[in-house]
Symmetry: C2
């Protein structure tokens, strides 16, 4: 088996990359006005082709969110597949933000559909462990990556995730323990499991507690920037080697300009560079602070 | 506003239809071998065109599952859109089994993407109430239908759904209460909310308890047939008028034949007819049993 998703991420970080991920959430009304293309799907692809090299110069991974592509129908879905391909061809790791979750043969169909284009995927845990089996199998057998939704950054996340169980543990904490268990089958050279978790940046204290409950999980951390999370709030995800987290920023990078700006290419590159530099600084401070590796 | 999804369902049932739904889960290896088509997506479409009139003759609704279409890439996604269109053109109500769940503008993109082709959708509740807002808005403003995953029919569903909260209520029961609350904004002429719930047929006692916690929700009930649930197990969903449930069968209808059978069209029609007749009998027995309407 060639190197797994988690190992390739570890290698990039060991070679100096920031543990940074750029979210690709293309809203047609937020695209530059000067893009070519007959329809929104073509314009998105032109945008992706323009920005991917500038992203790849500074960060190791992207997280395209499939919802924005599905909103454009099958032409959008075709652009989704092309987006993943363009990013991979540029050497980026692709985390498909699909948040799928279904059972039995349906889960198998989703895993087949989305690992074709992506190195890692996000999934929803509400249907339980067996619904994740086709994804876990591909983590174990093919070195794919998986990020299970544990604690999200939205205000309403409390409806289910914050429910307190007898003993005081929350549902999110119980899911974190399950993620730790689901990841037992796999291990990277760096000691991390191939089964990670999505944990929002907007709740730093919880991030630290959840890190403790799943010490071998890579934490994919959205919510930095537009949603109010700060890069500093992600520090608890990282161990003494600077491994263990992958911090995502979306709107702050690919919507950092007004649609009529003429210098949007340069501004995207500069935003990606700044994001990576800021994150590298936070991780380095953490390493000097002496956090223990798992 | 024209009649809502729930009202159109009520009208069909009042006119004598069974509260039945046929799941469209097309696996290429389970399609008839004598179908035309250059690839799997074309063969699925030929299958859908052949079976939809035979389904529409006996049941009011279909539930295509998008995973099986996504597994075939963008050509599959195009076939998904065509499948929804063919079913609607034949007068069927289309419940898109997409189980989406995301936050903010992403949830908005999913709602936009899938209500374009479907009358009702399934969604996952793990991200909480605000993640459902774009769907709830369209239920209220456009008469769309929504089915929130509450209790699923798979063995591993217990991981989260059966967790007991202080006081003894389970997570699934707490979600059921939330569904009841989310549905307060809407009401059909029959008294049902536009916000329903997915509750598996494999746990009849739970079905009855969940019905009590969300008396105005239409319950979409999968798990009959291949997954081990019996039509009789669904009785608690229905009120004295035969309203309140929509029972789904998938493999038992569209995979009721061997791929090399020559009479698959007739067998699908016969399976749909039998399913509807069996369900009508169970609901009628329930009405005679005097169950009170919500």
């Amino acid at each position: 088996m060639s190197d797994s998703f988690v190992e390739r991420l570890e290698q990039r970080i060991a070679a100096g990359a920031a543990p940074a991920c750029v979210g690709i959430d293309p809203r047609p009304d937020r695209l530059p006005v000067d893009l070519p293309g007959a329809d929104a799907a073509e314009r998105i692809l032109a945008f992706v082709e323009a920005v991917v090299p500038r992203i790849a110069a500074h960060v190791p991974a992207v997280k395209p969110n499939i919802a924005f592509f599905e909103a454009l129908g099958w032409q959008g879905y075709r652009a989704w597949e092309a987006t993943c391909r363009i990013a991979r061809d540029a050497g980026l790791l692709v985390v498909g933000d699909v948040k799928r979750g279904d059972i039995g043969s349906t889960a198998e169909a989703y895993a087949e559909a989305h690992y074709r284009h992506c190195d890692a995927l996000t999934v929803s845990p509400y249907l339980g462990g067996d619904s994740l089996r086709p994804f876990l199998d591909r983590c174990r057998d093919e070195g794919r990556g998986l990020f299970v939704l544990v604690r999200t950054s939205n205000p309403g996340a409390d409806t289910i995730q914050s429910l307190a169980l007898p003993g005081g543990e929350t549902v999110a904490e119980r899911v974190a323990r399950a993620v730790d268990r689901w990841g037992e089958e796999t291990s990277s050279t760096g000691g991390f499991s191939h089964v990670g978790a999505v944990v929002g940046a907007t709740r730093p204290a919880e991030l630290a507690r959840l890190r403790g409950l799943m010490p071998r999980a890579v934490l994919l951390i959205p919510g930095v920037g537009a949603q109010g999370g700060r890069i500093e709030d992600c520090a608890a995800a990282f161990d003494g080697r600077g491994l263990g987290g992958l911090v995502n920023q979306s709107r702050g990078i690919l919507q950092c300009f007004e649609p009529d700006a003429s210098d949007w290419r340069e501004r995207v590159g500069e935003a990606a560079r700044t994001f990576a530099a800021d994150l590298r600084r936070v991780v380095a401070a953490n390493v000097q602070g002496g956090t223990v590796s798992p």
